[in-house]
Symmetry: C2
């Protein structure tokens, strides 16, 4: 029952990853295993002045880059941080891997090395969309499969239900389907068939949700194909950053605006914090026989620290075991 942290994955690795791990160990008193280049990790630990038995280093000499073809990379880079960690997890059923590295490598590696939960044809990558202070919706799939099928979406809903209950603290979470209209007969063939499956699933299905309502929808879970989910995730990131920058630019163009900007600085920061996905850690890859949490590529130490907390909840609640049971029950 180990929390493995890929020290080499992400834009700010290893520095921010190691820093986040150190912060998590201090704050949550949890042991973690950093996987990656030994010297590089040690150097960071020395820089933070942190020499603590709760941190273990598992050496791994290479790194899988963002642009490497995942299947090739997983097959050939046996000494990469991701493959090394996943290989160790085979012997360690309730362990969790946190990585800000290649989503594709985690997805392929997870399936090849740990396998899928029985009944799961495709794992789903889920992520929390903040909707303001203490409000959120969990969206799945945000990119594990670009080509989806109606029964994948049903599986995502089942997996997300368990995750939502055990890690996000929801009770009998409401599930919505992202679609181009609210009526059952609207949408692509995929969405229409998924709608029928969800309606007959016994899950707490609330129907279609239009993209315009994602920021405010009262449902707890939104399911969609991975292409759509990825577009939703990235457009939200892009627009949020773009709008805030544009407002800033607009204000700095006038004296009144500059003065106003000074006055609203704190409130704007509080607003940004309430919508910071880093608060919720990373994106769990659900459906694998093992815990895999994908942290954002741009993760800083704060995101990594929160992802460790999420990994602890994942373990404490035996999420993988619960997911397996749910899939069995519904088989």
């Amino acid at each position: 029952m180990t929390i493995y942290i890929d020290a080499m994955g992400g834009d700010h690795a290893p520095k921010e990853i190691v820093k986040g791990a150190v912060e998590a160990v201090k704050e949550y008193n949890v042991p973690v295993t950093l996987v990656g280049k030994k010297e590089a990790i040690e150097q960071e630990l020395i820089a933070f002045g942190f020499d603590d038995p709760r941190i273990t280093i598992m050496p791994a000499e290479s790194v899988i880059g963002f642009n490497e073809e995942p299947v090739q990379a997983v097959r050939h880079k046996k000494d990469s941080s991701i493959v090394t960690a996943l290989t160790a997890m085979k012997e360690d059923p309730n362990s969790v891997l946190i990585s800000a590295g290649s989503t594709g490598a985690l997805l392929v590696g997870g399936q090849l090395l740990l396998g899928r939960i029985k009944g799961v044809k495709r794992p789903g990558l889920g992520t929390v969309f903040p909707q303001g202070k203490d409000r959120k919706v969990f969206v799945i799939d945000v990119g594990a499969s670009s080509d989806s099928k109606p029964d994948y979406l049903l599986t995502y809903a089942k997996l997300a239900k368990i995750y939502s209950e055990s890690v996000l603290g929801e009770t009998n979470p409401k599930i919505g389907l992202i679609n181009v209209g609210t009526e059952a007969e609207k949408g692509s063939m995929l969405a229409k068939e998924a709608h029928t499956l969800l309606e007959n699933s016994g899950l707490n299905f609330a129907g279609n949700v239009e993209a315009r309502d994602i920021p405010t929808t009262p449902v707890n879970i939104l399911v969609c194909d991975g292409f759509t989910g990825n577009v939703v995730l990235k457009l939200t990131e892009g627009l949020m950053s773009f709008i805030l920058h544009s407002i800033k630019d607009a204000l700095l163009g006038s004296v009144k605006g500059k003065l106003g900007a000074l006055l609203i600085k704190d409130d704007l920061k509080a607003f940004k914090d309430a919508y910071n996905p880093d608060e919720y850690g990373g994106s769990p890859l659900l459906g694998i026989k093992g815990g895999i949490i994908k942290a954002h590529g741009s993760s800083g130490s704060y995101a990594i620290k929160n992802t460790v907390k999420q990994a602890m909840q994942f373990q404490e609640n035996h999420v993988v075991e619960l997911l397996s049971k749910e899939m069995e029950t519904n088989a």
Copy 2:
């Protein structure tokens, strides 16, 4: 060569539609034909004190609602404003219909009554995404077809090129493909095949554009399937409104914030104006043998007025003729 305006379509019909028509006639000195319930239109014209020979009324007794099944509605409601206008357009090749009514009815009615341009399997609905003052990107398809095929996307690109050049004033517009990664091999099967077709099309294809870059991309045209485009369109609307409301709420929570809000009011308004899609009129439905422009369901008079201007450009530049030629040349 008439501009028909569906006086009965949209959330604020007929009042705002008629008002927008009156404003357009005054500002652009253009004759328009309002299609809909005669008395209702006359009443609005009287209320605006506008009795002018440049406005003609074409009576149509019924209206197709947003939730009516389009094929049934178009077949059975021959006296609806949309069917009446489209029927008149058959005899009037370079005419344009503006409607804030049912997109489905316009799409079905346009194809049944006017037909598709030769070589166009599916018309595409395009819309301008403002990217700030004088910057914009034209996105197509935003919802004409929920299930798309690679060659539809190629057709959208060809149609959009002509529209972009003749109405939006671009020269040899750059075309991007909305996808989940920038590399050619990324994405769904649809996106990958469309990428290949676009790359070999002779069009000015700039490759994949990730959703996070839509607000800032330098390309002039983005093509995608109608499901994705609809999600992009509606999520943008939803997030823009949500973020601005949330910032407002955050500011009104503190005295400093309230004072700041007063100071930034004008700059914030300028920002909102720069991103107001109403500036660009409505969404053209490209690929039909006739001009059809879908105005937003919530259109007020300002949007309608700008859509009339867009319709004039559509006519002056003989867009339908140019689209037909482009499809022939590339056949």
